[in-house]
């Protein structure tokens, strides 16, 4: 299901490509060089509508690329967030700047650190579920990553 934000991107003619293709990490076009590896989230308690999704983005190319939009069939919105600790106090903040994957480098998300906030979950994530996470890169275009729900 393509949410409002994606619909806008499609209307603007951005290279969203195969929006319903759910092959994990499939690239849209030839120019891209970012691989989405190890996308996962935990089972979500029934009462909960927000969950953290963790992905690792590996840029095997020689040009920086930037995440410009995020969406998922299972979340109303997906926002990069960072958890930080100050004297035992945990805080989460939406990532202020761009999410840039440096050339030859990677972004590794993990619990208690950088993660993607999936908001507006209406069906709880069950262990073993898989769902599509849409990541739109500035250069590479759309990547449909497959998120696995598992206990970790």
């Amino acid at each position: 299901m393509i949410r409002a934000r994606w619909a806008i991107l499609v209307l603007l003619g951005l290279p969203t490509g195969c929006g319903t293709d759910d092959d994990a990490g499939e690239r849209d076009g030839d120019s891209g060089a970012v691989d989405v590896v190890d996308a996962w989230t935990r089972p979500s308690p029934a009462t909960v509508t927000a969950a953290a999704v963790y992905v690792t983005l590996e840029n095997v190319g020689d040009t920086d690329d930037e995440v410009v939009a995020l969406g998922s069939e299972r979340c109303v919105t997906v926002v990069p967030h960072r958890t930080s600790f100050d004297e035992g106090v945990a805080s989460m903040t939406a990532l202020g700047g761009a999410l840039t994957v440096p050339a030859g480098g990677s972004i590794e998300m993990e619990p208690n650190a950088l993660h993607l906030m999936c908001l507006g979950i209406d069906t709880p994530f069950r262990a073993g579920d898989e769902f599509v996470l849409d990541i739109e890169f500035a250069r590479q275009g759309l990547v449909n990553a497959r998120v696995v729900v598992e206990d970790r």
Binding site: P45, V48, A51, V89, S91, N112, L119
Partner: protein, 219 residues
Amino acid sequence: MTLVEPPAAVTEDVVARPRRPWRRRLVTVAAVIVVSALVGWLTLQWLTPHPYSGTVMQAPTAAPSMDGLVWDDGTPVDVTELGGELVLVYFGYTSCPDVCPTTMVSVERALDEIGDDVERVRVLMISIDPARDDAARVGEYVRSFDPAFRGVSGPVDDVERVASTYGIYFARDEPLEGGGYTMSHTSTLLGIDPDGHLRIVWPSVLDPDALAADITELL
């Protein structure tokens, strides 16, 4: 003809080879060193306090009251009834997508490691977001991690008072894009020992193995 005497060197060799007293002495000395080292190490282990991964209170005091708060079955929380068990107390909230689930999973993993001692450990999460979390909701949340975990909540004023006496800070963050909000909160894990004393504070990021060792030591 004269008799040929055996070479002198051969005679010496035959006499010297089977003796070598230094070799036996070396073995004895080595054995003494090894045994002494072992005894020393064991003594040191016995004398050295357990290296807790949390901060242990130097002068533990009775766990502060939780009056006003209720269990997930609606009954009032009475801290004085918690004696005899090790109680792990976490102040969190159910709309917490990263830190709270990570803590719950770490605690659950630690309890998996301690065998039958788990019968003497109680885990409870107190909501610092009572506007959205009643106790039943917190209970449903924590049971998704372990059916034995318990949820606690209560009126905002009581939650604020209890959190404050336990040294827990919390505040509502800016509204999220798309609605809702998150909370900033002290995310340490507290331990009330079987004598009812607030005894230990574990850091926000837990190592399940170290936590398991600490729990075993505290019981």
